[in-house]
Symmetry: C2
Subunit: 207 residues, 2 copies
DNA sequence: CCTTTTACATACACCCTTGTATGGATGACG
DNA sequence: CGTCATCCATACAAGGGTGTATGTAAAAGG
């Protein structure tokens, strides 16, 4: 075998990550050996151990490709006026998130993180999920607080509870869909449920 | 070592299941060997292989101790008049569920099923979660449909969407809490969120 | 063009785990 | 009270996975 050029080496790395996604999703992280991943990418463990220190390192690199914090989604909307309509900001950011999740890579990696891996090595998936949940919930509560101050929230509805409600609902939908994505479209049902929920929480006809 | 009496043997079996719960929860199902479980129960693998065929069999027996279908919770309310107040039936059944989840055994086993195990052997935890979700969601939609026919639901709110909304919210809360139960009380926050959500979905003051 | 480094493939040693086979002591039972 | 099935411990064989060490041919770089 010959040494590859830098571009080929980078491609090898990506191929290994792609292979890891597929095998992890199919057989679970714990039950897949590095040998299986390497073979699935038409490589050997030698290549894998050159690009990554071990399975945990490979796993983290895999996650690195699909980071998607809530605040980033809000900024991606590109409309500065959404600050004045916080509930709409939530809505558009979630729609952005749904769209991303329909991309195979995002869906697969998140499904692995949520449903197909346990603690191993120095990796704690639950801690990562906690971080994601905290970040999202915090942002949602902030936006709900903002909405409350602007009078956009139904009177009597505590903004913190509203944020937690949204986070719980979105998280539940997220988990359900990732369990088997063929049951329904996250974009369709997500839009329907989110719009319904926001409508329930919105202040009635502010004539 | 001497042979035990039947009662002692049954106690051994329970002790092995208890040990499995604790070790599974701490280290994950895949990363725990049968040796570790046996030692944690002050036994050897011999005892384990006598009571269970393998890890999958042990796992299923562990789940068997905490079955909790939604319909069973409704029946446990013991008030036949709840049929006339479906939203109240949902509320009381969920409260029953919250209370059960605060028992260590129920909490631990569900946490293992949701967050600490992958597919292994002929066991597919996701299929089990799917069954649980389907059962709960179906029941919730039924009750919401009943509520709609009785005019208890906010006009314009599709009962199927209402059921899915409840299931997503409860599921999200469930997952969040099982991730680390020390953050909040499932009974307290669950009651708060559920009451808030039901209030949002309820038909306004039917004077 | 020569040297060095890169990007892998191959080979090796080690440990952990599983399943089963065997042993043995005693409760259950007639 | 003797026999048998039970309940569990111990021993054994086998396989699979990990990490590392070594080999190597070509790309990088001067």
């Amino acid at each position: 075998m010959a040494r590859r050029t830098k571009a080929e080496a980078a491609a090898t790395r990506e191929a290994l990550l792609d292979a890891a996604e597929e095998v992890f999703l199919e057989k679970g992280v714990a039950r897949t050996s590095l040998e299986q991943i390497a073979r699935h990418a038409d490589m050997t463990r030698g290549a894998l151990y050159w690009h990554f220190r071990n399975k945990a390192d490979l796993f983290q690199a895999m996650l690195q490709r699909v980071r998607m914090p809530f605040q980033e989604l809000v900024e991606e909307i590109g409309d500065p006026s959404v600050t004045e309509r916080p509930l709409e900001a939530i809505r558009l950011a979630c729609l952005k998130g749904f769209e991303r999740l329909e991309q195979p890579r995002y869906r697969r990696v998140h499904a692995i993180l949520i449903h197909h891996c346990e603690v191993f090595g120095d990796i704690d998936p639950l801690a990562m999920q906690n971080e994601m949940a905290e970040e999202a919930c915090g942002a949602l509560i902030d936006y709900c607080g903002c909405a409350a101050r602007l009078g956009h929230l139904r009177p009597g509805l505590d903004p913190e509870v509203a944020g937690e409600l949204l986070q719980a609902m979105l998280g539940g939908l997220f988990h359900d869909w990732l369990r088997n994505h063929e049951r329904f479209s996250i974009l369709e049902r997500g839009t329907l449920l989110l719009d319904t929920q926001l409508e329930l929480m919105r202040a009635p006809a502010s004539g």
